[in-house]
Amino acid sequence: MTTTAPTTTTVLDASNVTMRFGGLTAVRSVDLTVNSGEIVGLIGPNGAGKTTFFNCLTGLYVPTEGKVEYKGTVLPPKPHLVTQAGIARTFQNIRLFANMTVLENVLVGRHTRTKEGLWSALLRLPGFKKAEEASRERAMELLEFTGLAAKADHLARNLPYGEQRKLEIARALASEPGLLLLDEPTAGMNPQETRAAEELIFAIRDKGIAVLVIEHDIRFIMNLCDRVAVLVQGEKIVEGPADVVQADERVIAAYLGTPFEGAPGQDEAAEVEAAEAGAAEAHSTTEGDDK
């Protein structure tokens, strides 16, 4: 079900992850693996625990039980160390550095991959200029890749919505991740922009970066993902290829609800109709009396 080729390696391995807040169990023993070169989707109704699970992966929360491994090592409990290890993320509500330029935003993303400290900056040590230039070059490459190169000197706040989303992805890619976590990357986008985002995510996959996507847009997920996991009330109920998941009864039930036991038949329907017609008649007669 999961392995497609013998060369793939497991990038992310979350096993038996449970997250409790006091008495509330937000995520209950969820297992999820993401392999290299794979796009995995995570869907579920609102309040299903998707974002909590996401936060367990990015170091914002430490799972109460279970563990998350990235390329064989257990994740450190601090967000900045997780990024350094190789997991980058975007945010559901865009969180760019609004008053920095587009280029600067991407350069900040390079933070973990460069080492020049304060002394190097103050004394302009030999490596400084070289490292700055290399960073700039890499950042411009990423802007070309996401199609924002022409706007490198604009303030991030002045970009249109769709481009801000792209910039967030470019910024995340700047940290050279092995796994990219996208939190609702198409929220608020129109169909064209959604298509463009899809293309971009495929291109990222082709660079050899594994992608884990949280999304509400089922059509988008079904087009995009190799594998989809469904989270309902903190538990993973099904995982598999997109079409299998889409046809799964439990998924439909979770999204649309189940038909209850005594579903109304023909007779009941006719009865209700008759009753309604009678009520309408009675209503009109009382109105006539008034006059």
Partner: protein
């Protein structure tokens, strides 16, 4: 492009004539002639006597030789005349007004009227009645009034905005003070551009030195009025924009020019008192720039920053060899500086480590508390309520003068035929420290560390998700800021001969205190280099020069801050970011440095 610019401008002006009504209904030609005549009369008036007695300071009684406040009117009238003549399109004067043409005339004419009117008022008030005015005063006063009326008759520089197509009288007056942005400047050879920068700083130095050297408060008020209107007029004329474009292009030349101009300052002052003001301004400005690292870059609101200045000053005082110091050592200067800086650094880390886990308002409150704790601790280490280290409220007096390389800073020296006084010596020493702090600020801001600071200021959660260790970098900013303040503190201890706890309060009447430091940063412009320097100079100079309003100083200071936050929230010097942040233009920001290569080639072709 070069040939096009003037034509563009003339069409603009004719359009404006067609769509705007001047405040005073006059034909443009008449209005301009009136302005020229009025300012010429005001100018001539300054050569006549304005009053009969030299009881009024500045001696305005001499005919044929303007003095004191007359000089300010003279300069203002000359500037008005030049701007007005430039409006005629006289060759060789057109460069004066690349932006607005008529609004600078109006502004400088208002400046002349303000200065002259203030002078006439001050004379009649101090000497008791209008009868004390000589004809020359009336000549200049009426000339200035005529010039303003004429300037009000000039057409506006730009058509009315779409939101207010037919403004009322007040709207028209306000509109006549606005001007369009200047177009792109003609490319000059770089030596000429550098010369212009040098000239700009020369003028700046002269104005600043004049302001510090004003000997009585009437002259200083006149100076403030003239300088404020003159500065606005020059801005509206587009000259400032041109100059800042040049300084942005030659940044190292600009820094050098500013430094050289600053070195020249003590040579313009023969009075030790004024050089002392200069040295104190530098101390204040340096500390403000250090605070700018913490507030402007990393976004940490620190209300107890002056404590770090105090730590540096106390450390330097203790090892200065002062007979009242509880440690009887006398370190050489470099070791004292190192001691002060390291002590501040350690103090910064010790305070920062627990407090930087807080954000926003909570951080501000805690730092405010620590600032006060420092002052009270210094008060209590007096041998009674604690071990005797600092002599309590008496402080450490009699700090000996410094000797650097056998050069005693305490006695005057002859340099290039000019006597450099004690304060002049310390001024130059402090300038070296200011230069170091400027360099540290600039280099750290333009690096990976500086970007991380700004990212933390913008959105700490997102910054952490980008792999930035928020706590460590905030601590670094805090410690660096503390260290810079400590550096300034070591010099301050020697300049003021003594350190006492009361010098390092949260708010007080003498500027280097936490509230004024923060005000200097915000007033000048957060995150910029020149902003805090200018802000500190103004905040020090105004109270120092206007002693008579000492009681109302904090009140006026508060009012000024409120006005500034209402009308120019980004501070006097705005970095591009802040300007866009506070003045939403409603359209996308198109950076103007991008099309430069095209423009440059166009000019080259036109020139060839």
């Amino acid at each position: 492009m070069t040939t096009k610019t003037p034509t563009d401008k003339t069409t603009d002006t004719t359009e404006a004539t067609a769509t705007t009504t001047p405040v005073v209904p006059l034909p443009p030609a008449v209005a301009r002639a009136t302005t020229v005549a009025g300012s010429a009369v005001a100018l001539i008036g300054t050569f006549l006597a304005w009053t009969w007695t030299d009881e009024f300071p500045g001696n305005l009684t001499v005919t044929g030789y303007p003095g004191g406040l007359q000089v300010l009117t003279l300069v203002g009238a000359a500037v008005t005349l030049l701007f007005a003549l430039s409006g005629y399109g006289i060759k060789g004067l057109r460069w004066l007004t690349p932006g607005g043409t008529n609004s600078p005339v109006l502004l400088s004419a208002l400046g002349v009227l303000g200065t002259t009117g203030y002078t006439l008022g001050a004379i009649s008030q101090e000497l008791g009645g209008l009868v004390n005015l000589e004809p020359g005063a009336w000549v200049s006063g009426i000339g200035a009034l005529v010039a303003v009326l004429g300037a009000l008759g000039l057409p506006a520089d730009q058509p009315y905005g779409a939101d207010e197509p037919t403004p009322g009288l007040w709207g028209r007056i306000r509109h006549s003070l606005t001007a369009p942005e200047p177009g792109r400047a003609r490319e000059l050879p770089s030596w000429a551009e550098i010369l212009i920068i040098a000239a700009g700083f020369g003028v700046g130095l002269y104005v600043f030195a004049y302001g510090i050297g004003t000997e009585y408060s009437e002259l200083f008020i006149g100076f403030l009025v003239t300088a404020a209107f003159g500065f606005t007029a020059v801005t509206r004329a587009g000259l400032l924009k041109r100059l800042s474009a040049l300084t942005a292009k030659h940044r190292n030349v600009t820094l050098t020019a500013a430094f050289v101009a600053a070195i020249c300052f003590p040579f313009t002052q023969s009075n030790d008192q004024f050089a002392l003001i200069g040295a104190n301004i530098l101390i204040f400005a340096t500390v403000a720039l250090g605070l700018n690292v913490v507030v402007g870059l990393a976004g940490l609101l620190d209300l107890g920053y002056v404590a770090f200045l105090g730590v540096g000053a106390y450390a330097a005082a203790l090892v200065s060899g002062s007979p009242q110091s509880s440690i009887g050592v006398h370190f050489p200067f470099w070791a004292a500086v190192l001691t002060g800086a390291v002590a501040s650094l350690v103090f910064g880390v010790v305070i920062g480590a627990p407090t930087l886990r807080l954000r926003g308002d909570y951080l501000a409150i805690v730092t405010l508390g620590f600032g006060e704790i420092f002052r009270i601790t210094m008060n209590n280490l007096n041998g009674n309520s604690g071990p005797d280290v600092t002599n309590g409220s008496n402080g450490i007096p009699n700090i000996p003068d410094l000797e650097v390389f056998g050069f005693n800073l305490g006695v005057p020296h002859d340099v290039l035929g000019h006597e450099l006084t004690r304060s002049g010596n310390y001024y130059l020493l402090m300038l070296l420290f200011t230069a170091i702090v400027v360099l540290v600020f600039r280099r750290s801001a333009e690096s990976r560390i500086g970007r991380a600071w700004v990212a933390i200021r913008e959105d700490e959660t997102a910054a952490t998700a980008m792999g930035i260790n928020g706590f460590r970098l905030k601590l670094l900013a805090f410690a660096l800021g503390a260290c810079l303040a400590g550096l300034a503190g070591t010099v301050q201890a020697h300049v003021s001969y003594s350190v006492t706890p009361e010098q390092y309060q949260f708010a007080g009447s003498v500027p280097p205190n936490s509230a004024f430091l923060l005000a200097a940063v915000i007033l000048g412009g957060m995150g910029t280099i020149s902003g805090p320097l200018i802000g500190a100079a103004l905040l020090y100079l105004i109270p120092a020069k206007l002693q008579f309003m000492a009681e109302y100083q904090l009140l006026l200071f508060g009012a000024a801050l409120m006005l500034l936050m209402r009308f120019r929230p980004e501070g006097l010097v705005a970095d591009r970011r802040k300007q866009l942040e506070f003045h939403e233009t409603g359209q996308l920001d198109v950076p103007d440095d991008k099309p430069l290569p095209d423009g440059a080639t166009g000019v080259a072709k036109a020139g060839a």
